[in-house]
């Protein structure tokens, strides 16, 4: 009978220990090399032979995206003998700092945005990129992109994949039936909006900024697009790095300019109601009225392609298609905002350097983009490898040497602004607070020092 005394405490402890270890996160498998069976290794000879070596890679990318990523470097693994040990985690943003501090850093980290990478570089954790990688980036990417991998004059990370913001989605058939033309400038877009509003068949715009605690973020994309197009990349950079205050008159006027569309009761919010219904409409549902003929245009990044209902054809002659938000000052040419990952290393062993070089190469970009769902700004990428019409268009835009590219501004601002007060500011702005007051409030939340 005495035995029974042990059972309860032991069981309790067991449950506790289980629940504790359950928190320790998921780990991915190692790379698969199945698809690489018939690879021609000649193209990979420059990376050398590193038989039996491993490179550990850590990033935010999980699920199918992670599988595709691993497939994209499978030929590299096969030809160089390097095993890439990949681990994806949604907790990457908080964990990477912890792991680096604890001396448990991965060999390579794929950063979802430059801010976090810069923190790691300044903390002295990241290794500078080897010359070979730097040269590759000079060759394959525009200077804009290289700048985002550079911290305090030193180049650390090569870009990997990219996404493009600022698309305006519309139904080609509606435009054709009504005789509307895709606008070439911001002013033409306003004229078209006016025309659609006067036509009374539908509202020209629909928008939805609701996204749980991140409510407001689609609005930050609007403002960023307008600041970049109206004031140019120099002012955009100054704004994002706080060299000019958030309540600078140029930024306030960008709010006002955006407001000509978003705060205009005649222009929004097709299918949902008045201006303020933008705040209660989920961002993923907000484009639906374009298909239903209740709204003509919807502003959202290239990933909106995945938000349309199953079976929607995204093509120039399909159900929906998108044009890039046109320039405000046509003499400046095309400028776009977007995002992308950055590949940085915590070690500088030969196998890590070989891996970095491969990730910066056109081969990787082509291998990965061929598998679908993503694009890259790598100039060596063949646009025909992009798997959808929209992706092809995005790649062409990104590769055009005349295109000015800027990273999503809210991703570059400090968290207190970029993922808090800027979002909240957009919410109060749509809810009726004047632009100047909104900008003042956001400025006051910018961390001192």
């Amino acid at each position: 009978m005495n035995n029974r005394n042990y059972l309860l405490p032991v069981a309790t402890v067991g449950v506790l220990a289980l629940s504790l270890t359950a928190c320790s996160g998921s780990t991915g498998g190692t790379g698969n090399s199945g698809s690489a069976a018939d690879t021609d290794c000649a193209a990979y000879s420059s990376y050398g032979k590193h038989d039996g070596k491993t490179v550990s890679v850590y990033s935010t990318i999980v699920d199918i995206e992670a599988t595709n990523l691993e497939a994209a470097w499978a030929p590299f693994e096969k030809c160089t003998g390097i095993t890439v040990k990949y681990e994806g985690s949604k907790e990457f943003e908080t964990q990477i700092g912890v792991r680096a501090k604890a001396g448990n850093a991965p060999d390579v980290a794929i950063f979802p945005q430059p801010g976090l990478m810069a923190d790691q570089a300044r903390a002295g954790n990241l290794k500078e990129a080897p010359k070979a990688v730097s040269d590759l980036v000079d060759k394959n990417w525009s200077a804009d992109w290289k700048k985002y991998g550079t911290v305090d004059g030193k180049f650390y990370t090569a870009p990997m994949l990219a996404n493009v913001k600022g698309y305006v989605w519309y139904a080609p058939k509606t435009f054709k039936d009504k005789g509307w033309e895709v606008p070439k400038t911001w002013d033409e877009m306003l004229t078209l909006s006016k025309k659609i509003a006067d036509d009374k068949a539908m509202k020209p715009w629909c928008a939805g900024f609701e996204s749980g605690e991140a409510t407001g973020w689609p609005g930050t994309d609007w403002i960023e697009d307008v600041v970049l197009r109206a004031e140019g990349p120099e002012v955009y950079d100054q704004w994002v790095s706080h060299q000019i205050p958030f309540n600078d008159s140029k930024i306030v006027s960008a709010f006002d300019k955006t407001g000509e569309i978003l705060l205009n009761q005649d222009f929004v919010n097709g299918g949902f109601g008045d201006v303020r219904s933008i705040l209660t409409t989920g961002f993923a549902q907000a484009g639906q009225p374009v298909l239903d003929g209740q709204c003509a245009m919807h502003h959202q990044a290239n990933f909106q392609a995945a938000n349309w209902p199953q079976g929607t054809v995204v093509a120039p002659d399909g159900d929906v298609w998108a044009f890039m938000t046109p320039p405000i000052d046509p003499s400046r040419g095309e400028s776009i905002t977007g995002g992308g990952e950055m590949v940085g290393a915590y070690k500088d062993t030969p196998e890590v350097q070989a891996y970095l070089a491969y990730m910066a190469s056109a081969d990787f970009a082509n291998n990965r983009v061929k598998l679908g769902g993503v694009i890259s700004a790598n100039k060596g990428l063949d646009p025909n490898n992009a798997q959808s019409e929209l992706d092809k268009q995005s790649v062409k835009l990104l590769q055009d040497p005349k295109t000015v590219f800027r990273f999503d501004g809210s991703d570059l601002m400090p968290g207190a602004v970029g993922s808090n007060s800027f979002w909240k500011g957009i919410v109060t702005w749509i809810n009726g607070t004047p632009s100047q007051q909104v900008a003042d409030t956001i400025e006051s939340s910018w961390p001192k020092s």
Binding site: P9, A17, L20, N420
Partner: protein, 321 residues
């Protein structure tokens, strides 16, 4: 797959080690000499719980208290966080809302719960009637938030309404209304959700207490010619005072900590934020752990007197018995 295997092995080893240590402690306690056995038994059984408490509750509480006096970079900054809390308009709104919540929710929930419990007492179908009101209690706060968000849903005039309330408004010839966007009444619309959940709890506890009031007392009052209100006021209420205090304090504490409803329905936008929501936002989204910790500390100080009062009333009652 070797990764997962490794993890599993880790789990098994951790379990075995933990079990072995605890087993050893129990064994030692059991085999201890008679003279010190009682003391050892007490220590042996309390120590694991006490250690877990220290590691999981006391240590984080102390650390949070220290955090409250540091800035975003972890450098000490005196009482800056508290100055921010009591001067920034945004933070003041948060404190104001928390006060509104803590005053209204316990009073309304307990009031409705008590009234309902009294009226359905000994009524036909009491069990069904009780279950109806108790059911929201079984829904998580997040679930309730989502349900009510749909209830308050808005579409512009002339567009088919998707929210029940706006559908009714339009059917009655009124304009649809954005329930959640206009301060300060939007806080009231959020409070309704919490009251909807908590009324069931108040009702069940109070109903049980009412049934515990001795029938002789009620009968005596009736024979003395007391009308129903006097019976309720002078017999029932004093008889259930203990239960009332427990219900009020429990709901007050739950309300002070309210987070899920606000985060789900408005994410603290439109001047609806409360202390617990702002604590999370500051600590985990704005990258200001110091401010978050300061808010947590204030929340703790607000809850403390209620817990103390609750404990004292319970002890008094035990003494009476």
């Amino acid at each position: 797959m070797e990764f997962i295997g490794g993890k599993l092995l880790q789990v098994v080893i951790a379990l075995a080690v933990f079990a072995a240590i605890i087993g050893l402690i129990m064994l030692v306690v059991d085999k201890a000499p008679k003279s010190s056995k009682d003391k050892l038994t007490v220590i042996g059984f309390l120590a694991p719980a006490a250690i877990l408490m220290l590691v999981g509750l006391v240590y984080p509480a102390i650390q949070t208290s220290f955090f409250a006096f540091t800035d975003a970079k972890g450098q000490p900054n005196g009482v800056d966080n508290f100055v921010w809390m009591f001067t920034q308009p945004e933070a003041l709104v948060t404190l104001r809302n928390t006060i509104v919540w803590t005053v209204l929710v316990p009073l309304l929930s307990t009031g409705f719960g008590l009234a309902y419990a009294v009226f359905i007492d000994k009524a036909r179908g009491e069990k069904v009637l009780k279950a109806l009101v108790f059911m929201p209690m079984a829904i998580s706060f997040v679930g309730a938030g989502i349900i009510w968000k749909l209830v308050y849903d808005y579409r512009g005039p002339g567009i088919e309404q998707t929210g029940v309330l706006n559908f009714l408004r339009v059917a009655l010839g009124m304009q649809p209304k954005q329930f959640l966007l206009d301060a300060p009444e939007n806080t009231i619309f959020l409070i309704i959700v919490m009251v909807w959940i908590q009324t069931g709890f108040a009702m069940v506890v109070l109903s049980a207490a009412i049934k515990g009031v001795p029938t002789e007392l009620v009968e005596a009052a009736r024979l003395d010619g007391a009308n129903p209100w006097q019976q309720f006021r002078n017999v029932t209420v004093p008889g259930i005072r203990g239960a009332l205090v427990v219900v009020l304090t429990t709901i007050t504490i739950a309300t002070l900590k309210v987070f899920d409803i606000v985060r789900t329905m408005t994410a603290g936008n439109y001047d609806t934020s409360v202390v617990a929501n702002e604590m999370y936002t500051q600590a985990f989204r704005a990258g200001e752990p110091g401010r978050g910790a300061a808010l947590a500390l204030v929340l703790f100080l607000l809850v403390l007197p209620i817990v103390v009062y609750n404990a004292r009333v319970l002890r008094q009652q035990r003494e009476i018995r």
